[in-house]
Amino acid sequence: MATVLLIAEHDNAKLKPATLNSMTAAKKIGDVDVLVAGQGCAAVADEAAKIDGVKKVLLADDASYGHFLAENLAALVAKLGANYGYVLAPSTTTGKNMLPRAAALLDMQMLSDVSGIENADTFVRPFYAGNAFATVQSKDKIKVMTIRTTAFDPATAAGGSATVEKVESAGDAGLSSFVSQQLTKSERPELTAARVVVSGGRGMGSGENFKLIDALADKLDAAVGASRAAVDAGFVPNDYQVGQTGKVVAPDLYIAIGISGAIQHLAGMKDSKVIVAINKDPDAPIFQVADYGLVQDLFVALPELTKAV
């Protein structure tokens, strides 16, 4: 029996990259079993079995898990998790929705968004919108934690040969049901997994002008993000939002265009390896975190940059 139960993030067809980052955190603690719960997700279990270091994959394939409803998933995770010392999930909207419910069923005080593992019971996590980090010691028997995926490199997706073991469904709680989903369709890489992210802020002026961002993103094979100001102004949908209340990203290259750099936004991108800021205001706070700053009108600089790369 492994020490850690890691809940895989997937869409019933493929494993999400967040699982691999969380696997790196899990391996620092001990042996890892992975739970793949979903509907028609056997291929995902096979994929999880190949992750380097996984001991065993538990596959719960049932209609009640098809839409990852928290009520159903948490009951399963609490039942299986009771046998482990640690229960981990990536800090995605699915993990954040489900894991606290499982922790309460186990009567454990969960730790959210863990970004560092000091030893068996001591962990580091950001709070106050990433403006402070707490080193905390958990006294609970089972450590239940969501993992800040940007804080850990992805584990190798190949080389493992874990066994896949089917587990019984905990059933449908009958409390909620799925109605519909509207996902933003994009040919681009996913925001939280992209190597390059190009983000626009209020300075873009309109949703129409985001075409300029799209053009640069296309050339760099980058994901497109936005500040909360741009989202609130209705330029782009809310799932573009990078920041404490949106997505936390840490790509190799982050290009912030027309973004002033509110604390809220910086909390979501300041762990990027290289940050570029283009803004006509030389006093914009974004320049304080940028490796390369260009003080210029974005409507001049952006097309020029797109042409030059």
């Binding site: 409803l69 009520e71 948490a74 909207t93 699915t94 954040k96 929705n97 894991l99 606290p100 419910r101 499982a102 922790a103 309460a104 009567d107 005080q109 969960m110 959210s112 001591t122 950001p126 709070f127 106050y128 919108a129 403006n131 402070a132 980090f133 707490a134 080193t135 905390v136 010691q137 006294k139 609970d140 709680a173 009958g174 409390l175 909620s176 799925f178 109605v179 519909s180 989903q181 509207q182 909360r228 799932d239 209340t245 997505k247 290259l253 300041k270 390896k273 290289v274 940050i275 570029v276 304080q288 975190v289 940028a290 490796d291 390369y292 700053g293 260009l294 210029q296 030059a308 790369v309």
Partner: protein, 249 residues
């Protein structure tokens, strides 16, 4: 339908926080405190449900020090009918908060608990989910739209990659995301009226809940600072730096 709205007193969102020099925590002396922004959205949504005739009574609850009364008065001024302060100076963890709220739900029997998805101090994002678990209720987290649909609630949720709509059986727990609504400012007459509205005070022990922390904070530190970068003079220099110095494109 009765609604319970838990609210939290936190450092105002405009305050730039400072870590104490002995690394024991965050400097809270003489710092402006306000209602957590996600909680304001929860109060606003409850008031709108009452204005639509769906809710009949709104009970605001806060767990915290005596000064949390001010936060409750704000909720009352926004339109809550009465308030309960569960007074404690302990920094109560989400699981214990959920246990206190469960005890209050058992007493007050609301059909809906609506609360913020997270507080901007702890950033835990746990309480609503934990409360739903303890009650055995459904949960609609990170809600950007709440609609009554027959005997159920239809909740639109913000998820990675877009939106999702769920149907929840009542009673249930809803947690609010930023775009659910824009909270109103309390008018002066309503602030005056709020002073007359009932506010009951009790202790966690009155509800049979042990609030002893299970997680010990050993150290609080500032995030690693990025070293200052350089300004480039034009796009040509920028592209050169990215290619030859940073080697990222």
């Amino acid at each position: 339908m009765k609604i319970l709205v838990p609210v939290k007193r936190v450092v105002d969102f405009n305050v730039k926080i400072r870590v104490k020099s002995d690394q024991s925590g965050i400097e809270l002396a003489n710092v402006k405190m306000s209602m957590n922004p996600f909680c304001e959205i929860a109060v606003e949504e409850a008031v709108r449900l009452k204005e639509k005739g769906i809710a009949t009574e709104i009970i605001a609850v806060s767990i915290g020090p005596q000064q949390a009364q001010e936060t409750l008065r704000t909720a009352l001024a926004m339109g809550a009918d009465r308030a309960i302060l569960v007074q404690t100076d302990v920094n109560v963890e989400p699981l214990a908060v959920a246990k206190i709220l469960k005890a209050l739900v058992d007493k007050e029997t609301p059909q809906l608990v609506i609360l913020g998805k997270q507080s901007i101090d702890g950033d835990n994002n746990q309480t609503g989910q934990m409360l739903a678990a303890l009650l055995g209720w459904g949960q609609g987290t990170f809600a950007s739209k709440v609609e009554k649909d027959g005997d159920d609630l239809k909740i639109t949720r913000e998820i990675d990659g877009g939106l999702e709509t769920l149907d929840l059986k009542l009673p249930c727990v809803v947690t609010t995301d930023l775009r659910l609504n824009e909270p109103r400012y309390a008018s002066l007459p309503n602030i005056m009226k709020a002073k007359q509205k009932p506010l009951a005070t009790m202790a966690p022990a009155d509800l049979g809940v042990d609030v002893t922390p299970r997680v010990v904070t050993l150290k609080v530190s500032e995030p690693p600072k990025r070293k200052a970068g350089i300004k480039v003079k034009d796009v040509t220099e920028l592209v050169d730096k990215l290619k030859n110095e940073a080697k990222v494109i």
